[in-house]
Symmetry: C2
Subunit: 256 residues, 2 copies
DNA sequence: ATTAGTCGGTTCATTATTTGAACCATTGGT
DNA sequence: ACCAATGGTTCAAATAATGAACCGACTAAT
């Protein structure tokens, strides 16, 4: 492992739970010698990637990231980042993958990727508005939204898009509890007939859900093998995208 | 110079004008050997700090910055970053420094730092609203705001806070041209009597002014020496803060 | 008051990594 | 067909990274 890699690895130990790390801790965490870590932190500090909080105390992430993040966003707009994750999820599952963004109280499916693997596939309209109670994406968001928001949604009228749409608030509450337990939401024909979909929430920097990533397959194709694949891949993609967007799953989010 | 420093230096060559850099270019820019640069970019890429756009093509900034920027913001809120810059500016000039944020059409002075060096000093109210045409901060913002915004402000009634407030639109337009030329705005007793202030605009990631950083001194103390010091320090602080906040001065902004 | 165990930071001989000139294989322009 | 770029690779020589031991300062417990 090269020196640069080792130095950059140090940055990965910072987290919201541990924004300040001392020299000895860092040496322990990285498994490297204290002197080595000290020199590396010195170089990282000189470049602004890390800074020391007081006089000779702990280290924390430095001031360069705002600028670099802005440059990155300029070079690769979020749309492209989302698109790349969707493409990968789509390749892994061979089914339609889509991303939806919570805009106010509406969940809008903004981006999608189709798999060329099957002749039949679930298709999406552009900027389709998804119901919060009738889609897996909606349930994924609701399960991690603020209690106030979820209550408001469940107390409002719950239209049935299909004859399978769950419209009973209590039944929905039970479903949300299950989503919270598994970290992934599932909906069978609740929005479109013959569509079986799974979704994972995407979180912002405050740990609030900002949208969801989902995989939608024809009901007929959803056997147990595919279901396992989809669930695993969707949850991973969700965590990955959350991370890429600079967000953080809340502490209550289950680890896969 | 350590290897880590050299590798991190590579990241500084990316800019909005040059978001994609090839191996040879990078070697030229850094003055290092191509093989060295190649290995470093490889390590940076493995860590996600850089990525390759196509198959074996140019490099661009990687996906890690969103996350790191979010962590940094969590550890050090913007308020603290602004505060640190103000404190430094205040120390350098021995006068009151303040930062104001453009909120809609209102410019609000959100943070300030006082120098203990003099018995008399300019004091600020909390969340004081600054006029766009009567303060140096306002002029700094106006000079770099969109033409539509500036026109709308100049066509609206221009109240005079003091007898020195400039209220003639043409005279103001001339002043704005001067600000655009120098990159720094100046106002003498236009908002409060006996206050002589200088301000530099702060830009967001789109190159739009989001606020200003300013130094305000009693008129009596503003001799030529102090004026030079203040102008230099304010402009530097402005550029520095813009950079720290992930913003970019527009191409039209003069280099000091 | 003494001790023992931290901490951040430093030293320097040993070691392993980095370095760079020369070298491919491709590509695009003339 | 050629030339001059490009991205990428090789390997002996040069250099920088490493880590055990050490320092002084501090804290908590004895």
């Amino acid at each position: 492992m090269g020196t640069v890699t080792k130095a950059l690895q140090l940055l990965t130990f910072f987290s919201r739970a541990q924004p300040l790390i001392g020299l000895s801790d860092m040496a322990r965490l990285s498994g490297m010698n204290k002197a080595t870590v000290h020199r590396m932190l010195g170089e990282l500090q000189a470049a602004g990637f890390v800074e020391q909080v007081g006089a000779g105390r702990h280290y924390r992430l430095g001031p360069v990231y705002m600028r670099l993040a802005a440059l990155r966003e300029h070079a690769v707009p979020l749309r492209d980042v989302v698109g790349a994750v969707l493409q990968k999820l789509c390749d892994e599952t061979q089914e339609t993958a889509h991303f939806s963004l919570l805009q106010g109280t509406q969940l809008v499916a903004t981006t999608h990727a189709y798999s060329p693997h099957h002749g039949t596939r679930v298709t999406m309209e552009d900027a389709q508005i998804l119901t919060l109670h009738g889609t897996s994406s909606g349930l994924a968001v609701l399960a991690y939204a603020s209690p106030d928001f979820a209550r408001a949604v469940l107390e409002a009228p719950l239209p049935a898009r299909t004859k399978h749409t769950i419209t009973d608030p209590d039944e929905l509450r039970a479903k949300l509890a299950q989503v919270q337990k598994n970290g992934i939401a599932e909906s069978i024909s609740g929005f479109e007939e013959d569509v079986h979909s799974h979704a994972a929430p995407i979180f912002d920097a405050q740990g609030q859900p900002l949208g969801a990533i989902a995989v939608a397959a024809p009901v007929a194709r959803m056997d147990d093998t595919l279901r396992q694949t989809v669930r695993r891949a969707t949850q991973q993609a969700g965590l990955h995208l959350t991370r890429l967007l600079g967000g953080f799953p809340p502490d209550t989010y289950p680890t896969p």
